[in-house]
Amino acid sequence: MKSLERHLRALRETGVKALVPYFMAGVTTDWVRHVEAAIAGGANAVEIGVPFSDPMMDGIVIQEAGLRSLANGTTLDSLCAEVAGLALGVPLIAMSYYNVFHHYGLAASARRLADSGIDGAIVPDLSPEEAEPWRDACHSVDVATVFLVAPSTPSERVTRIATMSEGFVYASARMAVTGRASDLGAAPRVVAAVREATDLPTFVGIGITTPEQAREAAQVADGVIVGSALVRTILDGASPADTEALVNSFRRALD
């Protein structure tokens, strides 16, 4: 069992619903302050976006953040260097597209993540069928490979994915790319399907925009992932204090 999984299982056992905010690395010079602020606001883990030029699974908010980050010169090395020194006390999960790691080298990428204190990776364009080399690379360095289940995933496949996923299972609330939405979508159904297949912690993401939605999602799942809603405010100039307050409003909704 990977450290990430141990950590998240332990959290679940305390009865706390996991709040996992997403930040695009390098989007602003003080992006790390936002990560810290989110933790201060009550985040239980943080997803760190590694920018990619062609983010097929992202909506316009995260696309824009990624482009800004690239324009700022962010690379896998640079962002790893920035997080490496921190003692944040919660797990970090990298989120990027496969080509970034593929190009850097799978083993080298996995080691780089691990060395920087990153505990897991979400690679939305890496299907379970293609994931073996990456999982192998991650395995030896204790980086968890998190897979997504989509509303379209048929049940045999849910079982397979749930079995392969490490740390947690990412349950997509809807058939959509990242972005903001006004309801919970298919989350309850997807979570239920995952639960039938595994007792791994299951977090809902894609479109969780308001604390109210987060509360509803947490009624069925073990945690929520909040991305575009936070990234949008940072793009609009939010300070770390703003981020802390916003994350905290989600925290209060979950507790």
């Binding site: 062609d54 699974m57 190009h103 069928e129 293609e130 997509s172 790319v177």
Partner: protein, 394 residues
Amino acid sequence: MAEDTVYMSTPDEFGRFGEFGGRFVPEALMPACLELEDAFLDAWSDREFLAEYRSVLADFAGRPTPITPLARLSERLGISVYAKREDLAHTGSHKINNVVGQTLLTVRMGKSRVIAETGAGQHGVATATAAARLGLACTIFMGEVDTKRQELNVFRMELLGATVVPVTSGSRTLKDAVNEAMREWVTCVEDTHYCLGSVMGPHPFPWMVREMQSIIGHEAARQLRDVRVGTPDYVVACVGGGSNAAGVFAGFANSSAQLIGVEAAGGAAVGHGSPGVLHGMRSLIMQDEFGQIEEAHSISAGLDYPGIGPEHAHLAASGRARYVEVGDEVIIDALRTLSELEGIIPALESAHAVAWLIREAGREIPLGSTVLLNMSGRGDKDVAQVLSILRSGS
């Protein structure tokens, strides 16, 4: 190149051609890719489906397209050039072969809508056309830059009842149109088929599109036999994603012909790329030192793509085909040469293949060689752009 290797056969169960191919898509799309693979396999071995596919190509799309001996160009270059006239296919390029098949498959899968990316607009027009014929709803994603340089094709798609969505992300060209189409597909995969326009993307697209384009090569091989030219020394095609090249190569993969894919210098995935993963496939991709995809830059919207279909990456790696490049600066001349000598205005894409012949006849291509040139499309869509380049006096 082992003696007994069979080229361009079926990919492995993961959709791989050698070390290229595969299926790198969001989980939301995986079921659709699997369903498509099943549907294609099933249809492609169903006589009735094949009969319908072939009859639509014949009665609607104008197949077979002829082989034209290019007498005056041949004389000028000292080689014998035959053109396979995909420019005469309905909508003006080879793209129709693929969309006829995919739209029939869409109906067979019980879906009511297609989406597609387009670069030059030819695939968009072809998709809108085939969709109209079957009463399918249709949305086309097109980079904003391309909507401007290919305005005529935007108009055509609109007249055909399609919705054209200009894509403003990234380089605003073909690559970004694919991203956007993929993003859209995630939201509507239930009732919508993504009608990909080249031999790229996740399995089964590269294979399926090649199969649907292979009619080009099979026809050409038969036609050249009929006129007693037999196997040409060279088979030459331009390469964007690689569908027209794959289609014509398929007829000669296991012959003695040398297969040449001509890339735009600014979009040369074999020439300047390295293995990478983009748009659902592992292939050769133009990327920077950090694995960020580079923006292609070509005078021709249809070749303005930093990747190449995985089977081509494999054909290049195995040495069965060779990929060369020509720069923007010789394309207009090549287009004019063919127009003035032969009365055929090629698409800017196809003009790349012509430009390579002009450059290499008597050099890489020995004098006296026989060449099959795939005329992938007609230049009507490009003439406004070409004239404005000529008039701005370059």
